[in-house]
């Protein structure tokens, strides 16, 4: 939580070593908060309560104010150590985060989401007016008296009305039966949990005493390949922790159609898929809670976004009819359920909210994306490209919204390539020029020794291989010319060694193979072709769009120039392209914190028009011409044409 004391509005610059990241914050902000804003991850188990002593940092220059603590020795204090959660900024400072306080093995993309959200202002606008889906109210009940013989429930409603909670309420029999015992405690203080259910509010729980804080929520983006979750403090709207992992359903099929087939062919296939993804969600929730040392009982709800098939499997609904003509699902806008019914381990009375899907092939992740980017608010048409295992494209403005979906495969998510990985510690995330030392200069997540490549690195790598003419525009590695680092791998397949064993501590050679390139080519071609056909169907061109927003799989910041150079993104002026990160997660988070947003997501889902590409004969043609770097119709990439010639 960013705290600023009265009279300390002055802003100061805080720089963190060794990352070199800078951030400007108001005086009085804790170093831990400043670090979060800057995107520097400092280990903290207690979430900033000053009790765990893990968040030790060294003040190299400048002044911080810190209360006395028993967690530091006299010697450490002399060296400049402070606890990041206790120390408050009181001037420009340079902070060194020692290795012991850096969090290892942490997924950076999930962290980055929160930072990007702040920067892009996607969430800012609603911070002041939080109206979360599930609220906890602490109130003092008037005892029943002879002169006011109102029933227990009526007196409770009366108190809720005083707090401006005037929605029509309902509650379950078990809660009602516990009511008399709960309200007759000595202090009269009770905590009421009320959950949004459209026009109704459900009182899901009533307990004695004040347990209104904390009230936590989990926002989760359930992708075909990856699952990312944030733990949110509902009172402040901030993410307390984040976690990500691969979707364990992958063993039953790499894409949604194969998973549906698995449900059809195996007698307990649906149960297996359901169990796998619920176990993933529970694993992430445990990890989120471990990081802040809080109990799952504080989590009152989960908001999830994902594609339609995945959401079916999460809820244990049979997705079989999604793949059979006329392609309909069981429900695209399911009501909230008890999380416990799905096997999700949060508060026993907690709820599970699913964001609404549009159709069998346009899921809640896209509704969330539209919500997060505010597309429904703009006059000019804008495009949202979500690059995941399915590439989804939305074009629209405040009056209309169309969408399409194309199977891209998980190559840009670091799956189905030889040395691909998620953007976790040790993943190469950016590849810069080919240095005179005959090697690439590159960066890795966490500055660790390289152990694989994530999506952004593949975008850079393809562009570099083209520039070095190691690969031709069809993606074929140029094996003929005795180029160093190009070799025949297993089964004679050509491969290029990106990082040699031993280079910056790599434990083995990291390569890109000919079939990796083919997978990446297909992924980028599907995305581009889908956006092209959708535009053509609307009678628009790229230049009619005021903005093209790129969301999805890419762990951190995508090099937009390289993405255009390989033809993944359309060649429009740089200021029109914006990388918006994991909008599925951001949208889920926005809906979690604001009931109106949750309702808006439903309106978005209802108003979106779906274009079926698989039956459009132009799609295959557009796909084939996009299977070339950057594109067979090079004139669609004028800036690349200029650079090449």
């Amino acid at each position: 939580m960013i705290t600023s004391e009265s009279g300390t509005k002055t802003k100061y610059m805080v720089e963190f070593l060794p990352a070199g990241l800078k951030v400007e914050v108001p005086g009085g902000t804790t170093v831990l908060d400043a670090a979060r804003i800057a995107g520097v991850v400092i280990d903290s188990l207690c979430g900033g309560d000053g009790v765990c002593g893990k968040c030790r940092v060294i003040v190299r220059h400048g002044i911080v104010r810190a209360a006395a603590t028993q967690s530091l020795t006299r010697e450490e204090i002399r060296q400049g150590y402070v606890l990041a959660c206790e120390a408050r900024i009181d001037g420009n400072v340079l902070i060194d985060v020692p290795t012991a306080s850096q969090v290892r093995g942490k997924v950076r993309d999930a962290d980055a989401v929160d930072i990007r959200v702040r920067e892009s202002g996607l969430l800012e606008r609603q911070r002041n007016e939080l109206d979360p889906l599930v609220k906890k109210h602490c109130l003092r009940m008037e005892p029943a008296r002879l002169e006011n013989p109102q029933s227990d429930l009526n007196r409770l409603y009366h108190e809720l009305a005083k707090l401006n909670c005037r929605e029509e309420s309902q509650l379950g029999l078990s809660v009602l039966r516990r009511l008399p015992g709960v309200v007759r405690n000595a202090s009269g203080v009770v905590t009421v949990t009320s959950a949004h259910r459209g026009a109704l509010t459900e009182i899901t729980d009533i307990v004695s005493g004040d347990s209104s804080n904390p009230n936590l929520a989990v926002a989760v983006d359930i992708g075909t390949t990856s699952v990312v979750a944030h733990l949110i403090d509902v009172a402040t709207g901030q993410s307390l922790s984040s976690a990500a992992k691969y979707n364990s359903q992958a063993v039953y099929g790499g894409d949604v159609l194969r998973r549906i087939m698995y449900c059809i062919e195996q007698p307990d296939g649906l149960t297996q898929l359901h169990t796998a993804v619920i176990e993933d969600i529970n694993t992430l929730i445990r990890e989120l809670l471990d990081k802040v040392q809080l109990s799952e009982n504080y989590i009152t709800f989960v908001v999830a976004a994902g594609n339609t098939t995945i959401m079916h499997t999460v809820m244990g609904m049979n997705p079989e009819w999604i793949r059979r003509e006329p392609y309909v699902g069981v429900s695209y806008q399911p009501p909230p359920f008890r999380a416990a019914e799905l096997g999700i381990m949060i508060h026993p009375r907690g709820l599970f909210y699913s964001l609404p899907c549009v159709s069998s092939f346009i899921g809640a992740d896209i509704t969330a994306g539209v919500l997060a980017t505010g597309m429904t608010q703009s006059d000019e048409p804008r495009m949202l490209i979500d690059i995941g295992t399915n590439g989804e494209i939305v074009i629209g403005n405040k009056d209309w919204m169309v969408c399409a979906s194309a199977s891209a495969g998980p190559a840009f998510e670091g799956a189905e390539t030889r040395d691909g990985m998620r953007a976790t510690c040790g993943a190469i995330d950016h590849i810069r020029g080919w240095s005179s030392g005959q090697r690439f200069s590159f960066s890795t997540v966490g500055n660790e020794s390289p152990c694989g490549l994530c999506g952004t690195a593949y975008v850079d790598l393809l562009a570099q291989l083209l520039r070095l003419q190691v690969m031709d525009k069809t993606g074929r590695l140029n094996t003929g010319n005795g180029i160093a680092r190009l070799r025949k791998g297993a089964e004679g397949e050509p491969e290029f060694v990106v990082v040699k064993r031993g280079e910056r501590g790599a434990s083995r050679d990291l390569v890109i193979t000919q079939s990796d390139i083919a997978n990446l080519m297909r992924a980028k071609a599907a995305v581009y072709a889908a956006s092209k056909i959708l535009l053509t169907s609307l009678g628009l061109t790229m230049s009619d769009l005021s903005e093209i927003m790129v969301a999805g799989a890419f762990g951190n910041f995508l090099d937009l120039e390289n993405a255009v150079f390989i033809g993944l993104l359309p060649d429009v002026p740089g200021e029109k392209l914006r990388f918006v990160g994991n909008t599925s997660l951001v949208g889920a988070k926005m809906a979690a914190l604001d009931r109106q947003r949750y309702q808006e997501a439903r309106r978005i889902a209802n108003s979106m028009t779906y274009f079926e590409l698989s039956t459009d004969p132009r799609f295959m043609e557009a796909f084939t011409s996009a299977c070339f770097f950057p594109h067979t119709n090079i004139e669609e990439f004028p800036s690349v044409m200029a650079k090449v010639s």
């Binding site: 525009k473 074929r476 010319n481 084939t624 070339f628 067979t632 090079i634």
Partner: protein
């Protein structure tokens, strides 16, 4: 009252590509052949110049000619055993160019050495003074071994060498750049790959203006319509200004026409089809004249009878006065 002019004016013309080199150019050919140059869709002379007269290259093989259908062997006789003699015969039959296919390089046809192939090229160049097309055996590894030597042997003669393909182009491009030959770019009935291959050749330094494209040919009755529509789309794109599809087009008619059962099956097996001796040349001639309508600039043919018929067609097409 004046009728409204409905002629389409096209943005660009098809490239002109010259094959062969006279002594003045540093070669030994009597004349050169220039193809392409059309400024309109095929034969709509009122829209623009129809370009250079389509040329006919007569096909000969270095080896395996004796496997050709009987109707062709009747015409060429023992010449099919000697490429030089065969080339002379082809010249007599009215060839504008000779198209030498190095079938002998194919492992199934003997797998001749690069030196042998180069000697054959030299002997054909010595036997006739027509411009030459040199075509590989369609096995990439062998072509990459044999064609560079042939290119070197024919240096200065400005031949048309083929074919480069999407997955095998670097070696031949390098040779033809070094030895000054034109290149034939082959794509498998796919307009995207046709464009991509041109880009690939261009990326390794070959000028787009010196390419001839071969979009794959089918005989009448064996997918002709499909090829026609591909050629038509390609031509419309080229005339519309796409520099990657502005190349003149070659059609390999003889090979395909003489595989059609209508061209080669004896009358007793196909009752009512008429004498096979007349059917073969007609099948080849009709296939070829149809390709003229699709925009073919260079036809590879076999039978003297069909060559004569197609030449007459070309005469008539070229006699339409320009607007």
């Amino acid at each position: 009252m004046k009728a409204q002019d409905t002629a389409t004016k096209w943005a660009a013309a098809i490239n002109e590509v010259r094959i062969g080199a006279t002594p003045a150019d540093g070669g030994t050919r009597r004349n050169t052949v220039t193809i392409g140059g059309a400024q309109c869709v095929p034969w709509l002379a009122y829209e623009g110049k129809t370009g250079n007269r389509p040329a006919i290259a007569v096909e000969i093989w270095d080896r395996g000619g004796e496997t050709w259908p009987g109707a062709l062997l009747e015409q060429y006789g023992d010449c099919v055993k000697d490429p030089a003699a065969w080339a002379k015969k082809a010249a007599e039959f009215g060839a504008d160019l000779i198209c030498l296919k190095l079938m002998g390089a194919h492992p199934a046809m003997g797998g001749i050495s690069a030196r042998e192939a180069a000697d054959t090229v030299k002997s054909v160049l010595a036997a006739v003074d027509l411009p030459l097309i040199v075509w590989g055996c369609d096995v990439n590894e062998r072509d990459n071994e044999v064609l560079p030597k042939c290119s070197e042997a024919a240096k200065g003669e400005n031949c048309l060498f083929g074919t480069i393909k999407e997955k095998n182009y670097r070696t031949l491009v390098a040779s033809c750049l070094a030895d000054g030959h034109k290149l034939l770019a082959e794509s498998p009935l796919d307009i995207n790959i046709a464009k991509q291959l041109n880009v690939l050749a261009h990326d390794v330094g070959y000028p787009l203006e010196q390419l001839v494209i071969f979009p794959t040919t089918a005989a009448l009755g064996y997918g002709f319509e499909y090829v026609y529509s591909i050629m038509e789309r390609s031509r419309l794109a080229g005339l519309g200004g796409d520099p990657l599809l502005r190349q003149p087009t070659l059609c390999d008619v003889g090979l395909q026409a003489w595989r059609a059962k209508e061209a080669i099956t004896a009358e007793d097996a196909l009752p009512g089809f008429g004498p096979v001796g007349a059917r073969g040349p007609l099948w080849e001639a009709i296939t070829a004249t149809n390709y003229l309508q699709a925009g073919a600039d260079l036809l590879v043919m076999r039978h003297p009878g069909s060559i004569r018929l197609v030449k007459e067609s070309i005469d008539r097409l070229c006699s339409v006065p320009a607007a």
